[in-house]
Every structure is written in C-alpha cells, then in structure tokens.
C-alpha cells in the first residue's frame, strides 16, 4: 500500500514523538542543559498532543496493515501523552537534585512513549510486539536511572530480566498462534477463531503463553511479583510512568485484541481471565495491608486496580469499552497525583526516595495543601464518591452487573472493602501528630514549581471528574473502536 498525506497526518503524533527524541539527542550532543532538554521534550509532547486534532479528522484510517488510527487509539494516545507530560514535569523536579547526567532520561522517556503509541494503535501481532518492546526496553534504563542507589539499580535489573522472560513467552505464544492460523492480524485471528477452525490445543497453548506475557506487563497476579519491588526502587517519576503509561497502553491494546479476536469458542479464556482478575483483586489488596512503604502500597493497589479493570475485559461487550476508557483516565489521574506528591516530597533529598509511611507522618502539619492533594488521591484510589476513582469503579461495577459476572463483582466489593483499610491507614498517618525526628518534606516553594502545579491541577481534576464526569463520559463514548472491514 502507498502512504498518502492522510496516512502521514494520522501518524503525525507518533512521528512527532520520535522526532522529539532525536531532537533532544542532538541538543544534548550540542550542549547539555537540563532545562532545555526538559523543555524540548515538553514541547514535543505537546505538539504530538496537538497533532491528535488533525489526526482525528482523518481517522479512522488504517496505516499499513500494522496500525489502525481510529478514535479509540487517538483517545488512548491522548491519555498516554498527557500522562507522559505529567511524568516529564515530575521528572524535572526530581532530576534537579540528581547528581548525575539528567538529559538521557528524556530520550528514554520519549522512546517509551513512542512504543506506547504504537501499542495502542496496533492491530497486528507484529506491531504489538514492536510497540511492547519499544515501550519496555527504555523502561529498564529508566527504572535503574538513579543507579547510584542500590534499590534503583536492583529494580532496573529485576525488571529487565523478568520482562525479557515475559517477552519470550509472549513471542512463543504468538509463534504458536501464527503456526496454527497463518495470520498475525487481529482481525484475521478473530475470523479464524470465530470460524471454529482453531479450537485446537495449539491455540490454547499459544493464547496461554500470551496471557503469561501480557499478564506480566499488566502485573496481574500471579505474574505481578516484580511490581512492588520495581515501583519501590525506581525513581518516583518512573514508577508513575510504569503505573500509568505502560499499563494504559497494554490494556488498551489488549482490549482491542480481545474485541477483534475474541477467543470465545467456549469461553475458556474468559474463565481464565476472570480467575486472574479475582486473584489480582484479592492478592493486591491483601498484600497491600502489610506494607509500610507508600510506593509499594500503590504498587499493590495497581495490581488490584488492574484486577478490577479486567472485569471490563471479561465482559468485553456493552459498556465495556466505555468503562475501560473512563476507568483508565481516572486511574491515571489519581496515580499520577499520588506519585507526584511522593516525587515532591522526595526530590529535595539525595538518597532513596521518601517512600516509607514514616516519612509522611504528620505531613499535614507541615504541608497542608500537599497533604490535601494526597488525601484526595487516596480517596480516589479507594473509590469514594465525589472523586474520579468512584466514577471508574462505578463503571466497572455496572459492567460486572450488566454481564452478571457475580464472582468479579464480589471480588470488587471485597477488594474495595480491604482497600479502604490501607488507604485509610495512609490518610490517618498524614494527620497524626508529627514524628519526633522531622520527616521528609517538600521544598517550601513546591507549589510554584511545575511539578507542584501539575499535582494541584491533577487534584482539582480528580475532584471535577468525580463531581461532574459528563465531559469525560462523552469523550469516552466517542473513543469507539473501529473494526476494520
């Protein structure tokens, strides 16, 4: 096929992100300046964000058999770009005090974003894999970025080794699937599967392997083991990136794969995913009870949240797409806010991030507004009404009820009740009387910095989405999936 202008317009966001990486690289080669690198990255990401508008004009359009630029992918591209922007601003605050080279961070981040963009637009196993690897490989470097800290280095290595293994499984699964079906495109697979010609064991095996690989990337129990360790060790902005961008991209892709190629011959895959979902909810919430480190708590809670979200995947009809979109938006905003506060509290210090709950004891008495932000985020994670998290949870609930997935709904209820417990623990800690030794603290002028502003904006956003979610819902309804003809 030939590439026409409209194809290029559709790809513009992706190309702009890639160009940003190159430009930042050249700029760094010319002169190292942290502010300039960050600014260039922000400009590039914003340009890509703007490029979504012309892209939406030409969408839906299929760009090569690999990529499908439809409203669905554009919606998630937007989400990814916004999240990446937030991570960039956080990273700027964080890296200011890092006694090392800082500029490479933005290139790695850009590469990873490009991978995520490919992933959400992919409609072919090839682009799936390329996107996934392009997204993951820079993350190895990012998680180990503060490599003078043992924990950071360790998290980088852990993530790399395990992720490589997961990719191997994914590839193996894809190969088996290909060997059986002779096609790699989602639609082709879907046709073959629905024709019933592929109910063979090799398909089961292949899909099973893929579940292992993708489950790892989504940190679904029992493939979640790396999550808390990596979240804890990686620099806070990277943890934020891992928890938002990478999850959004993989899940959006998975949703597309599942909608186009539903392996629903006898529903065995749904059963497996439902089991994994309930397991994630239970394991994530239970293990979070024990944690004394805020970053780990969010890590475990992300496991649980992905479990909730899988409900939509299992249902994969009716409200499911809308629910996924709304849930991911609210979740991303919340997690970014939470990690934002952690970044702000950690950034003025050298050494490991301020993750321990102990560091946050009595934060209210020192930084009331920052504490309020963190409180809002915790409430939202717990899914309390008036916060964004509630809208997401409500959608998941509706989907579960609509499709009569009782076990999953039960899991959500149980998980939420457990979840309240540790989110409350965090909140209560914030308001306790301050510790004897002064804990860690954000800089005095945190609210005047970009990172601080971003966190405040997120808090307001979380509240607005909680109180008046209609615009978000409208947007999510527009983000319909384009089924290729």
């Amino acid at each position: 096929m030939n590439l026409t202008t409209s194809h290029l317009i559709a790809l513009l966001p992706l190309m702009l992100v890639c160009a940003t990486v190159v430009i930042v690289m050249l700029a760094v080669a010319w002169r190292r300046n942290h502010f300039m690198s960050a600014t260039l990255t922000v400009i590039g990401l914003n340009a890509a964000l703007l490029a979504l508008i012309p892209a939406a004009q030409v969408a839906p359009i299929q760009v090569t058999p690999l990529l499908m630029v439809d409203h669905y992918s554009l919606f998630y591209m937007g989400l990814i770009l916004v999240a990446a922007l937030a991570c960039t601003t956080l990273a700027y605050a964080y890296l200011e005090t890092l006694p090392d080279q800082r500029d490479e961070f933005y290139m790695l981040l850009g590469c990873s974003v490009a991978g995520a963009l490919v992933l959400v637009a992919s409609q072919h196993l090839t682009s799936l894999f390329i996107g996934l690897e392009l997204m993951s490989v820079p993350l190895y470097g990012l998680s180990g970025y503060a490599f003078k800290e043992r924990t950071s280095l360790e998290s980088g290595i852990k993530y790399m080794v395990l992720s490589a293994m997961a990719s191997a499984f994914l590839l193996f699964g894809m190969a088996l699937l290909y060997a059986e079906s002779g096609t790699l495109s989602f639609t082709g697979l879907g046709q073959q599967l629905s024709a019933g010609g592929l109910a063979s064991n090799w398909v089961i095996l292949g899909v099973g392997m893929m579940v292992v690989g993708l489950g790892f990337k989504l940190s679904i129990a029992p493939f979640h083991l790396w999550t808390p360790d990596v979240y804890e060790g990686a620099p806070a902005p990277v943890s934020a990136f891992l928890a938002t961008v990478s999850k959004v991209a993989v899940f959006a892709m998975l949703m597309r794969l599942f909608s186009l190629a539903p392996a629903t011959a006898d529903g065995w895959l749904h059963t497996i995913i439902a089991v994994l979902a309930v397991l994630s909810m239970v394991v994530g919430n239970l293990l979070a009870l024990m944690q004394s480190n805020l970053k780990r708590i969010i890590g475990y809670s992300s496991i649980a949240h992905l479990g909730y979200l899988l409900t939509a995947l299992v249902a994969s009809d009716g409200l499911a797409l809308e629910a996924t979109a709304v849930y991911l938006v609210t979740y991303v905003a919340t997690v970014l806010g939470a990690f934002g506060v952690i970044t702000l509290v950690s950034s003025p210090y050298r050494g490991a991030d301020a993750g321990l709950l102990y560091h946050y004891r009595g934060l209210f008495w020192r930084r009331p507004y920052l504490t309020a932000v963190l409180t809002v985020m915790m409430l939202s994670l717990a899914g309390i009404p008036m916060t964004a998290g509630f809208i997401g949870k409500f959608y998941v609930f509706s989907v579960g009820v609509e499709s009569s997935l009782w076990w999953l709904v039960g899991g959500v209820v149980l998980g939420s009740a457990l979840g309240l417990y540790y989110y409350l623990r965090v909140m209560v800690t914030l308001y306790l009387s301050p510790a004897e030794q002064p804990g860690r603290d954000a800089p005095h002028d945190w609210a005047q910095q970009v990172g601080g502003l971003m966190v405040l904006v997120l808090a307001v956003l979380v509240l607005i989405m909680g109180v008046y979610p209609q615009p978000l819902i409208d947007l999510a309804q527009m983000a319909g999936l384009q089924f290729p003809i």
Binding site: I157, K158, V161, L162, M165, A166, F169, L176, A179, G182, N201, W202, I204, L205, G208, M209, V211, V212, F216, P222, F223, L225, W226, P228, D229, V283, L286, L287, L289, M290, I384, P385, M386, F394, F397, S398, G400, V401, E402, W406, V409, V412, V413, L414, S416, A417, L420, Y421, L424, V428, Y431, L432, S433, Y468, P469, Q470, I473, D474, Q477
Partner: protein, 930 residues
C-alpha cells in the same frame, strides 16, 4: 426548587462553623444552627402539602450517561425523616456546645456534623436510587470522621475504621443491587422504580436484588451478624452516638427497608430473611444490653435490639406491621437520643461510664435522674409513654404472623421474651446508675449539668410523654402520610390510642413488665451464667480476624515476594510451565502426522556432545574459562547441526559469529572479577535442576509436537523466485541483499551505530589488568607468543583472500558479504591478539569508523541508484556479461549492496573488538588516584 434547599442548606452549613471558628464557642454553635433551622422551616412549610397527598419533586440533570440525576422528593416518609434528622440534629448542636471540652475543636465537630446531616437528608429525600446511594456512602464517610473525632484515641480510630469497613462494604453491595434494579426497571428514578413492583418481583434477578439490598440495609442498621461494629462506634463523643446511633445513621438501614418495602416486600424470601434476621438481632441485642457494664455499651446493644424489632416488623409482610415499624422508628429515635444524652451527662459529670462504679447518682443529679427514668420507661414500654404504643402494636402484629406454620407461636413468644429483656435492661439502666447505693471512686464529683445541656433531653422527653398520651393528635397525621409512602394501595386503618381494651397484646405487655422486673432481680444469676463463657469481644475478634488476614498476607509475602529475583523467576517459569503443561496434556498424541527422520549415528553423537557440552557449561559456570570452552563447543555443534541439515550458509554464519562472540567473551572475561562466589545452597541447586528439567521437558515436547506436524512453508516462494527475481542461486543471500534488502540496510545501520557507540564508550575506559588468575597463578609473562604471532601473520593474507572469495561467490554459492566480513574481522583480530594493539596499529594505521560508515553509505547509495532508473528504492538488477578468458560472469547490483554489508561488518566488528585490547592498564585504578 426550594426542596433542594433542605439538602443544600446543611451542606453550606458545614462551612459556617469553619468560618466562625474564631468567634467564640457559643456564637459558633448558634451560627451553625441557623441554616438547619431554616431547612426545618422549609420542611414545615411543605408539611400541609404533603399531608394533603401531594408529592413535591425536583429534578436536575447531573450525569445523564449514568442515569444519575439530582432528583429529590418529599413524600410522607421523607418528611418524617427530615423532621427527625433536622430536629434531633438541632438539639445535638445545642447539646454538643456544652459537651465538648475546651480542648476539642468545636468548628471541626460541627463541620463534620453538618456534613453528616446533609448526607442523611440526601438519603431520605433522594428520588434517584444512585443519588441515594451516593449520600449513603457519604454517611459512611462522614460518620467515619465523627466516630474518629477524638483521633488521638486508638480506640476511636479502630472503631471508626471498623464502622467504615463494614458499612462501606455493605454500601457496595447496595450499589450492586441498585444497578441490578436499574437493569431490570430501566431507570434509576425512584418514582419509576416504585411503580414496577410486579416487574421486579417476577424478574429472575429478584433474589440477588433482594439479597444485595438487604445486605446494604443490614450492615448499616447493625443487624445480626453485622452488629459488631456498632458497640465499637461508641468510642465516638456522646453527641455523635446520640445522633448517629439513635436517630440517623443506623436508621438509614431501616429507612431503606421502608423505602423499598413497596417493591421488594410481600414475598417468602423477604419474610424469612427479614423476619429471622430481625428476631435474632432483637434477642441478641437485648441479652447483651443486660450484661454490658459500659453505660453506652448498654445503650448500643439496646439500639441493636430495637433496630432488630423494627426490621422484624417490616419483615411481617403486613401493612399494619409496616406502620408499626415506622411508628417505632419515631419513638426509638426520641427516647434513645435522650437516653444517650443522659448517658453523656453522666459520663461528662462523673468521668466514667462503668456501671459498676456508678451508683446512687440521684442524690447528685436528681433532675437528670427523672429525665433518664422517663426515657427508660419509654424504652421498656411503660404505658402513657410512646414506647408503649409501638410495643403494643408490635406484640399484636407478632400474633398475626403465620408464615412459620406450626411454629408460628414462637414469634409472639420470642417477641415477648425480647420485651422482657428490654424491660430488664431499662430497669437496670436506671436502678444501677441512679440508685442502688453510693458511687465508688468516681474521678469527679458529680453535679447537675448546665441548664442548656439538659434542655434537649427535656424537649425529647416532653415529646415522649405527649405522644404517649395523645398519639392521635401528635403523630397520626405524619404517620398516615408516611404510611402512604411505605404501603402502596389502600392505606390500612390506623387507630392510635392508649387503650384498646383487655386483649392478648396487653397481657403480653403486662407479662413483659412483670417478668422484666423479675429478670432484673435475678440478674446476678444471669451474670454468673454468662461468666462461664469466654468473653467474646467483637473488636477483638474483628481485630483477630484482621490479624489473621494480615498474617496470611505476611506469609504470602514471605513466601512469594521476598525480593529475590531468583524466586520471581522460579515462580514465573513455574506458572508458564503449568500453562504449557496443561495445554500439552490436552494434546491427544505427542507425535504428529509427519514421519520421523531416520536416526543416524552422526546426528546422535552430535546431539550427545551438544547436551554434554551444555551441561558442562552450566556445571562449571563458576570456573569461567572452562565454562566458556564448553560454550564454544555448544556453538560449534550448533553450526554443525546447520551444516548437517543442509543449511551451509547458516552454518558458516553461525561459525563466524561463534568465533567473534567467544573472542569477545574471552576479552571481557579477562577483566571480570576472577572469582565467582558460591551463591546457591544445595537445596536451591536441586530445585533449579528440577525446574530446568521440567521446563526443558515441556519445551522439548512442545517442539517435538510442533515439528512433527505438517507445516506450510514460505520457502517455496523464495526457491521459485530466487533465480528469476534476484539472479542468484544462493537463496539466503538473495533474501538478504535483494528480497529483504531494506531490512538488511536497517540492520547494518544499526550495527554501524552500535559499533561507533561502543567505540566511544570504550574510548576513555581504563581497566586494571589482573596479573593472576583465580587460584593466584600469575598469567604468562609471555604476552605475545611467537608461534601464534607467526601463524597469524601467515594466515592474514590467506584469510583475507578467502574472505574475498566467499564474498564474490556469495550470490550463488554459500557465502556472502556478512560471512566474508566476519572472516576478515576474525583474522585481523587474531593479529591484534597475537601482536598487541600497538604493534598492529603501527602497521595498519587506518581507522575503522570510516570503513563502517562507507559500508552503510555504499549500501544506501546502491539503493538510491535505482531511483536514477525510475525504479523504487533498492530495486536490484542483474546481467550476464561474457568476459573473454574468464567466461560468463553474472553481475548484480546486489553485489554492490553486499559490499556495503561486508565493509560495515568488518568496520563495526573491529571497532568493537580491537579496542577492547586498549582498555587494559597495568596500574590499579585505586593506585592511580593516589
């Protein structure tokens, strides 16, 4: 729109105390009270209309996509609750002004209280189920804040958390129920839902809906078996208990029962679940109220008991019983709120709530004693008080219940028993606390509370008496209006009167009163009996179960998440193996349709050596040099395997790559630490062996199964098109330089970039050259062995010739640019190794960077060249030329491209490898610094 104000005013009111925090405590209280008072006025203004059968409604869009509207209604039931919530709320504001000490933040308390009031009003007036649920959750949250108001007390924090966990989880159940109901009815509007009784009850989802709604109601109203949170919520300040646990929060559950009564009731499921739960709660609460030693604990359990009674009444499926239930909601709210406030006064003035210490308080606070006594009498159901009326109705209704068949007599019997206990604990509350001897070691000397602290109780007691004596005037209109909302269709005849003549209920009441006194007199026997059992502390058991959960979580953490990468790998592999093994188990037969190739001894021997070498690599991994040697054997045999199965090209490539890799590893090995620490215990090693055997087994069987199945190969296409399309007989080479030329171009670019990057990275690196191996033996001082250097020098021209030969014939016979490049690189490296970097560079004084770059450039230019002939990028062409003496020679543009590949490979490889030799320095880095 004024209807909205009823909810909005208290919401705004929650800001008032914060704003007026500095203006003094009394002012703050007064200002706070203004807005709810206005709201009460609005409700009063609506009253005639509601009594007249109108239904004021208001509706605004909020989130239409979810079916969530801001819709409110004010029917009789709502109005009744609005009165309760606002009226008692105002009294509590007054009471709390005197109850809270100077240290407590008044504004915070009032803000929370107003927030709670808003939530409660929202529940009772919402006309949209989702909106109602929304406020429902808000009550859980604001009650969390109120119960945990004294946040320095761990007791309060734990109690608040428990309350929130239980009611929060119940709330989610309710949400599921609401969603289901919306699913069935197609709307969340309460008005619509209430009209679809038949639809809901005939739906197959009726049972889950009912269960979920009841779970929500029962957790909120502390019904058995969820009653345990309520006693622990008593850690709250007493005004909170008086408000939340008498009139509002716990009433939300029974309100829900009343609200949903028109659509959910009337079925057997409803009867059995609601009645039995109510009965169990009634008796359970009553019994424990009798034996608790904590003043508020007694009230908490009596609240549980009375809530059970109300639930029981709603369960009876009779219209009159529902009326009685609504009536008892009012009565219980009035007398229980006053009792809590009285208990608060006692606590406030005496500094303790332990009944064993409190005795004979009437001497110190006679006025309070009278008030408390009247309230208790109402709770016990003494005639002339409001409690008596509803209890009569309750007893009468219990006689009507027939659904347990032959066992129906048990309901009135148990109801009477509940009343007996109720009388007993009411009596105990009065007699033990206010009479019965002298107080013992009280922290404070008690005296009468401030005038205004008693005022709320006086008002409530007055109501109790008035309702008790003149029920027809006082409550009948509102009861009638509320009943109209609860009981659909023909309203039952309500006739409230003090005297119904001598009948069975009256006798039961009399029995209850006299037996209650008797039970109280015999209470010591009951205590003794009860002491035989281990005290069950709900919080302890709750905490215990929490601890157990936590312990199991800890166990899981220790087991699975110990931070060890090996462990994670192990688990990940294990789960993958399980998936694979399950898949394989389903495969009927391992072997597919394809027949196996015959085994020949060469292959068997080769495979055997391959396995052994692999084993050797792993087993000797701590002695790296040996391990590396084994690895090279593995590589060698892999290449041979390719050769054996007719892939000479691949074999050649593999061989060259093997050599380069091993050289690279050798060079790197030199700088690595000499010793590998022993990291694995025997157990772990055996575990790993086991796992790898399983994993290998599964993967091997998988491969076997896949390979024995027929496959469609894409190779036919290439075989057919290689000569006509690419002009070469070596298909692999044709694919590389022609069919997939674009890929190759990308690859060599990457290779070139990688080479340059490594070159730059190594440029400044200096590593200490170790002088001895791991066992302390010095490395040979003879750096440049003579034999090797002479051999390498001799080999150099020969090998370069071979490389050119391989390159030239590559298009048709095994060979090609890539292999040729590697061969050239290997031999040059050999020279480097044998002669040293300096010696070699003096003689081969050229840079490798330009070579690599030139290679990429040539390849790219070849591709661009086709544009000159108006062909797409990288179109190749070939022709046959007849050159004299040499004969027919085929030349293809692909050859140029291949030259590019050749140069890039040579340049990059040498950039990487030749520079590794330069990084050595004989000085230790640490010494260098000094």
């Amino acid at each position: 729109m004024t209807l909205l104000l009823i909810v909005l005013l208290p919401l705004v009111g929650s800001l008032v105390p914060i704003a007026s925090a500095r203006s003094g405590r009394t002012t703050c209280a007064w200002l706070t009270a203004i807005l709810p008072a206005i709201a009460l006025g609005i409700a009063a203004w609506y009253t005639p209309a509601v009594f007249g059968g109108q239904l004021p409604q208001v509706s605004l869009d909020w989130v239409p996509a979810l079916g969530l509207d801001i819709a409110f209604r004010l029917d009789g039931l709502s109005l009744l609750f609005v009165y309760l919530v606002l009226g008692i709320g105002l009294l509590i504001i007054l009471y709390a002004r005197y109850y809270l000490s100077e240290k407590d933040s008044m504004s915070r308390f009032y803000a929370y209280l107003m927030l709670f009031m808003t939530a409660m009003l929202g529940i009772v007036t919402a006309d949209n189920l989702l909106l109602m649920w929304f406020f429902w959750e808000l009550t859980s949250l604001s009650s969390f804040l109120l119960i945990g108001y004294w946040s320095h007390l761990s007791e309060a924090r734990k109690g608040a958390r428990m309350a929130l966990t239980v009611t929060g989880a119940g709330g989610l159940c309710l949400l599921a129920g609401i969603l289901l109901m919306g699913h069935v009815v197609g709307s969340y509007s309460l008005t619509t839902v209430l009209e679809h009784r038949e639809l809901i009850q005939q739906s197959s989802l009726y049972q889950p809906i009912l269960l979920l709604f009841l779970l929500g109601a029962f957790t909120k109203s502390a019904q058995f078996p969820f009653q345990f949170w309520l006693p622990h919520a008593m850690a709250a300040p007493t005004p909170v208990s008086a408000y939340l646990h008498s009139a509002t929060m716990v009433k939300a559950g029974v309100f829900l029962l009343a609200r949903m009564y028109p659509v959910l009731s009337g079925t057997d499921e409803w009867f059995y679940i609601v009645t039995l739960t109510g009965l169990a709660t009634l008796l359970y609460g009553a019994f424990f109220a009798l034996i608790k030693q904590d003043l508020k604990g007694v009230l908490a359990f009596s609240t549980i008991s009375h809530l059970g009674l109300i639930t029981l009444l709603f369960g009876f499926n009779s219209k009159l019983a529902a009326v009685a239930g609504v009536f008892h909601i009012i009565n219980h709210a009035t007398f229980k709120a006053s009792l809590f406030m009285a208990a608060g006064i006692v606590d406030h003035e005496c500094g303790t709530r332990d009944i064993r210490k409190l005795n004979g308080l009437w001497r110190y606070m006679p006025y309070t004693t009278v008030l408390a006594a009247v309230a208790s009498a109402s709770m016990a159901g003494v005639p002339l008080l409001n409690g008596f009326l509803s209890k009569e109705m309750f007893l009468a209704q219990s006689l009507e219940a027939q659904m347990l068949g032959g066992l129906s007599w048990m309901i009135p019997a148990l109801a009477t028993l509940g009343s007996v206990l109720s009388v007993a604990y009411s009596l105990r509350f009065i007699h033990d606390v206010f009479f019965n001897g002298e107080p013992r070691d009280l922290p404070k000397t008690p005296h009468e509370p401030p005038r205004y602290m008693r005022l709320p109780i006086e008002i409530l007691i007055l109501l109790c008496i008035m309702v008790g004596i003149l029920p027809g005037i006082m409550v009948e209109p509102i009861l009638r209006a509320a009943t109209a909302a609860v009981v659909p269709g023909q309203a039952p005849e309500i006739h409230l009167a003090l005297w119904h003549g001598f009948n069975l209920p009256l006798m039961m009441s009399a029995i209850a009163l006299s037996a209650g006194v008797l039970v109280y007199l015999l209470r010591n026997h009951i205590y003794r009996f009860h002491r035989q059992f281990r005290a069950v502390n709900a919080r302890q058991s709750f905490e215990f179960s929490v601890q157990r959960v936590v312990r199991s979580a800890q166990w899981g953490l220790d087991r699975f998440e110990n931070g060890s990468l090996q462990r994670y790998m192990f688990l990940l592999l294990l789960s993958a193996v399980i998936v694979a093994a399950f898949g394989l188990m389903d495969v009927p037969s391992m072997a597919g349709l394809k027949s196996l190739q015959p085994l020949d001894p060469v292959v068997v021997t080769g495979a055997g050596i391959l396995c052994l070498a692999g084993l050797g690599t792993v087993m000797l991994h701590r002695r790296r040099l040996l391990s590396l040697l084994f690895l090279s054997v593995v590589g060698m045999f892999v290449s041979l395997t390719f050769a054996r199965f007719s892939a000479p090209d691949l074999a050649l490539t593999q061989l060259a790559v093997e050599v380069v890799t091993i050289i690279l590893l050798m060079l790197a090995l030199f700088f690595l630490p000499q010793k590998t620490p022993k990291e694995s215990s025997g157990r772990r090693v055996s575990r790993d062996i086991l796992l790898s055997m399983i994993f290998g087994g599964v993967i091997a069987s998988l491969n076997y199964a896949v390979l024995t199945r027929p496959l469609q190969s894409i190779s036919t296409y290439f075989i057919e098109n290689s000569v006509p399309g690419g002009g070469g007989h070596n298909i692999v080479n044709v694919i590389l330089v022609d069919f997939r030329g674009f890929d190759t171009l990308g690859e060599i670019t990457v290779l070139g970039i990688a080479g340059i990057a490594i070159y730059k990275l190594l440029n400044r690196l200096r590593l200490f050259m170790p002088s001895s191996d791991m066992e302390g033996r010095p490395w040979s001082p003879d750096r440049y062995p003579v034999i090797l250097s002479s051999v390498s020098q001799t080999l150099l021209p020969l090998a370069l010739l071979v490389s050119v030969f391989i390159f030239l014939r590559g298009h048709n016979l095994p060979g090609g640019g890539f292999i040729a490049g590697l061969v050239a690189a290997v031999v040059i490296i050999l020279v480097y190794m044998s002669r040293g970097v300096e010696w070699t560079q003096r003689r081969m004084s050229f840079n490798y960077q330009p070579i690599a770059v030139t290679g990429v450039a040539i390849a790219a230019l070849t591709g661009l060249g086709s544009w000159v002939f108006n062909k797409p990028f990288l179109t190749s062409s070939f022709g046959h030329f007849d050159i004299p003496l040499i004969g027919d020679i085929e030349l293809a543009t692909a050859m140029m491209f291949d030259l590019g590949v050749y140069l890039t490979v040579v340049g990059s490889t040498l950039m990487i490898l030749a520079n590794l030799g330069k990084v050595t320095t004989p000085h230790r880095p640490s010494k260098e610094k000094q």
